[in-house]
């Protein structure tokens, strides 16, 4: 055994994923501090007087001054930042002027709605988009490929509010196949106890089947619509990744071995295409989780997008910053998740870690 092998052997005593996890956590903390810093700066840079927003424009000079001191605006900027970080770490995102409630409570109400809708959409986008993309790649240039292309093009170019309104008109008003705007009928609304804030999950956990089907009927249209948008993107990317993989030499090797075509497509090519696809899907999911303002508005879906837009409209900076922070954190978490999936999917990355 050479010296090099020996050191490798000693490191092997501690599983390699421990070191990787440590590095990952350090990166995570640095990213999050950066995120806090940026949101803090946004709050200071925008031309909105936080005192005025809190006390209103009819308050007296002395009240204004008192609040000014209370908010710590006389302190140096770095101290304000530390206070801000400290508050955030204690789960204090300030109060919303608009709702008169802690911003954290507002987000705890709105975010699950967005999370539910986004997850529903990304599941459709992935479960339909990936096979469609694979199919289009395998039948490149044929009819299926053209259909998938047109489908994607429509997904890109048709305005979502138009599709949403048309969908409501056809499937809700005319055909009555799905429920209308909102997350659940009022009849069920107060029976469902809030556990996760996600209607489908909560009703399931409580075994309220009627309410579950009702909530599903509500989410079907907006969820499918958003799913269609991510599907358009995911299927296109899947198609091009698959085409790249199917042109590789190892595919010919598999053919020479006499491997079944279906196995070549799903086990050889897609397994390789899955590595970059993970990032595409994670980013699509991230975009959805920002809250789809237009969809949420059309379908009266009380999600993060609507909350953020309303807060912006009334210069409610605490709410805006809180929501921005959550969106940022979601992106960081998704990036982390796709990094982890990368190492699971690609042995070449596994080694380097």
């Amino acid at each position: 055994m050479t010296a090099v092998e020996e050191t490798e052997g000693r490191n092997g005593a501690l599983p390699p994923w421990v070191g990787r996890l440590g590095r990952l956590l350090v990166t995570l903390v640095i990213t999050l501090v950066g995120l806090l810093f940026v949101t803090f700066l946004i709050g200071r840079v925008v031309p909105i007087d936080p005192v005025l927003a809190a006390v209103g424009d009819r308050a007296s000079e002395s009240t204004y001054h008192k609040v000014y001191l209370e908010l710590g605006l006389d302190k140096p900027l770095w101290e304000q930042f530390l206070i801000y970080v400290n508050n955030v770490l204690h789960g204090n995102l300030g109060e919303s002027v608009l709702t008169n409630r802690p911003v954290l409570d507002d987000i705890a109400d709105t975010f699950p709605a967005t999370l539910e809708l986004s997850t529903f959409a990304i599941l459709i986008g992935t479960c339909v988009g990936v096979p469609l993309g694979v199919w289009a790649a395998v039948r490149q240039g044929r009819l299926v490929d053209q259909i998938v292309r047109v489908l994607g093009l429509v997904g890109y170019s048709a305005p979502i509010f138009w599709l949403g309104l048309t969908g409501l008109l056809v499937f809700y008003a005319r055909l009555g196949w799905v429920a209308g705007p909102g997350r659940i009928d009022i009849a069920y609304q107060y029976d469902v106890e809030r556990i996760t804030g996600m209607m489908l999950v909560d009703t399931l956990l409580q075994g309220q089947w009627d309410a579950f089907w009702n909530a599903l009927s509500h989410i079907l249209l907006p969820g499918t619509l958003l799913g269609y948008y991510s599907l358009a993107y995911i299927s296109r990317m899947t198609r091009s990744f698959m085409l790249a993989e199917l042109g590789q030499e190892y595919i010919i090797t598999a053919r020479v071995k006499g491997v079944r075509e279906s196995r070549i497509i799903w086990r050889h090519a897609l397994r390789n295409a899955a590595v970059p696809l993970v990032t595409v899907i994670a980013l699509s999911y991230g975009n959805l989780l920002q809250g789809a303002v237009l969809t949420e508005t059309v379908f009266a879906w009380p999600g993060l997008g609507m909350y953020l837009t309303n807060s912006l409209g009334s210069a409610d900076m605490n709410a805006v910053l809180g929501a921005t922070l959550v969106i940022g954190a979601v992106f960081v978490a998704l990036n982390l998740l796709s990094d982890v999936l990368y190492t699971v999917l690609d042995p070449r990355v596994r080694r380097r870690g």
Binding site: Q248, E249, Y250, I252, T253, A254, R255, V256, K257, G258, V259, R260, E261, R267, H268, R271, N272, V275, L345, D346, P347, R348, R351
Partner: protein
């Protein structure tokens, strides 16, 4: 005719271009018994496409046609996808050029070997045993470790030995080796070739050895086809290659460096438009 394993008559391979179909192989004919046939030619001469056409792997939209394409009594011209699948691997196999690209990067060596072994083995245990035995046969010292490794963890020479092992597991009757050593270091080349040579001899299979290396082919094969611009310009016994008649082959030989008595600088190959007709 009875002794022939493979008969190819007037093989033509063409690809559509904007100016109509471009023929890259224009009427190649040869027969092959259980012997070692070398195909030499420069890049673009159609030697690799000839090898792939025998496996029905002409990449679409390319098209391969022939007057006869017969393997062991079966007409390959009208083979269906299922026919091809039953032939590939089990009867005809191919070692590809560069293990860096020809092995699936995210699948362990073991699983890739098992795919080949599963076709002729009755159980997983048997397939596994076959795979490990084959790794040993290509002189891999630690088969168990390589079995669990991924392609990027192997050197080029090891990768190519794995490739050879994979293609020989189902014990095919005909092996096509498409530049099997071109991506390897010179020192490793000889070693890999020796292993390939020994296994082919031992199992008595036919071999088509495709290469651009005239000297390598002449020392390694029984018979040599020299291809130029999609045609076979010369067919000679390897031992007679020095007496080749075609000016292209002679020209190639003149361009090879010699240890003593060679001319310097080496002459450039003077092409004659006549050869490509």
């Amino acid at each position: 005719m009875s002794g022939a394993l493979l008969t190819v008559d007037n093989l033509r391979i063409s690809f559509p271009t904007r100016q109509g179909r471009a023929e890259v192989v224009r009427g190649v004919s040869f027969t092959l018994g259980r012997e070692r046939l070398g195909i030499v030619g420069e890049s673009g001469s159609g030697k690799s496409q000839t090898g792939r056409a025998i496996l029905g792997l002409t990449p679409p939209p390319g098209r391969a046609e022939a007057d006869t394409l017969r393997f062991d009594g079966r007409d390959l011209r009208h083979a269906t996808a299922a026919d091809w699948r039953s032939l590939r691997g089990r009867r005809i196999s191919m070692v590809m050029q560069d293990p860096k690209f020809s092995l699936n990067p995210v699948m362990s060596i073991g699983r890739q070997l098992m795919e080949a072994a599963a076709r002729t083995a009755s159980s997983r245990t048997e397939a596994r045993a076959k795979a490990l035995a084959m790794l040993e046969a290509v002189q891999i010292r630690d088969p168990e470790r390589v079995f669990h490794a991924y392609p990027h963890e192997l050197s080029g020479g090891m990768g190519q030995r794995v490739m050879i092992a994979m293609m020989l597991i189902p014990e095919p009757d005909l092996l096509i080796a498409d530049e099997p050593t071109s991506a390897l270091d010179v020192t490793v080349q000889i070693e890999v070739l020796r292993i390939l040579d020994a296994l082919v001899k031992e199992r008595g299979m036919g071999l088509i050895f495709i290469s651009h290396d005239l000297r390598l082919v002449s020392s390694f094969c029984d018979r040599v086809l020299v291809m130029y611009a999609g045609r076979v310009v010369e067919e000679v016994k390897a031992s007679d290659l020095m007496q080749a008649k075609h000016p292209y082959t002679q020209g190639l030989f003149r361009c090879l460096p010699r240890i003593e008595g060679g001319t310097r600088p080496l002459p450039t190959l003077q092409r004659d438009a006549e050869w490509a007709r």
